[in-house]
Symmetry: C2
Subunit: 206 residues, 2 copies
């Protein structure tokens, strides 16, 4: 993460710049990623936004509430991608659905990079974090099942431990949050295609 | 990271349990990973160890000093692995040296998981962190160069952006710190072999 971008100010009545709920949440996520959730106070967030703490509490009940909403956003997006793949009833192969999950996961990570970064750093220090870890484990289990299905149908090689393959494949995808820069030379589609080329076809020249 | 393991107590003179410098550092790294560096105080570390703050300051000048030593350990190990590969004068191919870096990086990550976890979460909030990021960038550049050399010598396919391939390959390796459990079913050698199989040969059955 580079330094947090200040949330765009929204002009309100009486000429004072204000922030809507989404803008406050965006700034909170950037600050959590920069300083760590445990080290960030509502006072820090208020200072970053040039608001009073009361103005933050007007939108959010607590710091925990901000975290819950941010993690929920990221988890909802990823859950939608994974559920679409695991509950597809269009007769597509597990291999095709696995490729589609990889492609769409890259899109979600690029579109929601700050929230997913926060999600991937969750340690389980609070009930909100424990719930998020539970949802992440469900996602991991679904993905491992999809890899196993793709091996069972004969599309993928069967000489590697499927749960290890799943960890590595989505570890490669998740690594995006650490190094992807939206202003860089590669768009989400190029990254997704490169992930698929490396993981499914391999790097060796044939 | 699971909960920090308490550092093993060392019996000292006068019958009181004490901790040597390495044990204090190990506990500090575990605590930094669990709570975040910015949210952890020397007081927290003293409480975790059942020591006075003065006892910590007997070993370390500051919290920054603990971070510098921990990151230095991880960086020295990784630098040794990368330098050995990029400065090899044994006539080995870039492809072989890249495979060797992957294999040895996995070993370092498994053997030094807490310190490398800390390193991979560094955000650049302090001069110590900025220095660590500079050394990480040097490593990234060396690895990207090795991928380019392996493409140039004809071993690896040339239709993918080499710097993206390098990010993904070592993103996959680095993801280990998030999910690898030493008490799990796969040892470092199995993980290293699976990373190489996925990345170089690909997942498709042939």
């Amino acid at each position: 993460m580079t330094a947090a971008e200040p949330a765009p100010a929204v002009r309100r009545g009486r000429g004072r710049p204000g922030y809507d709920q989404a803008a406050v949440l965006r700034t909170a996520v950037a600050l959590f990623n920069r300083k760590g959730y445990d080290a960030t106070s509502i006072g820090d967030l208020a200072a970053e936004l040039g608001l009073s703490k009361a103005a933050i509490y007007h939108h959010f009940a607590s710091k925990d509430d901000l975290l819950r909403l941010a993690l929920g956003d990221a988890l909802d997006e990823l859950t939608a991608v994974v559920s679409a793949a695991t509950h597809a009833d269009d007769g597509s192969s597990a291999h095709d659905r696995l490729r589609e999950v990889v492609r769409r996961s890259v899109e979600v990570l690029v579109a929601h990079q700050p929230a997913v970064t926060l999600l991937l750093r969750v340690r389980g220090n609070t009930p909100v974090e424990v719930d998020a870890l539970k949802r992440r484990r469900w996602l991991d289990d679904q993905l491992a099942g999809l890899v196993r299905d793709a091996v069972a149908e004969g599309a993928l090689r069967d000489d590697l431990p499927p749960e290890l393959v799943s960890r590595l494949l989505f570890g490669m995808v998740n690594s995006l949050v650490e190094w992807y820069r939206p202003e860089g030379t590669h768009d989400a589609a190029t990254v997704a295609a490169t992930v698929a080329a490396v993981a499914f076809d391999g790097l060796l020249r044939r």
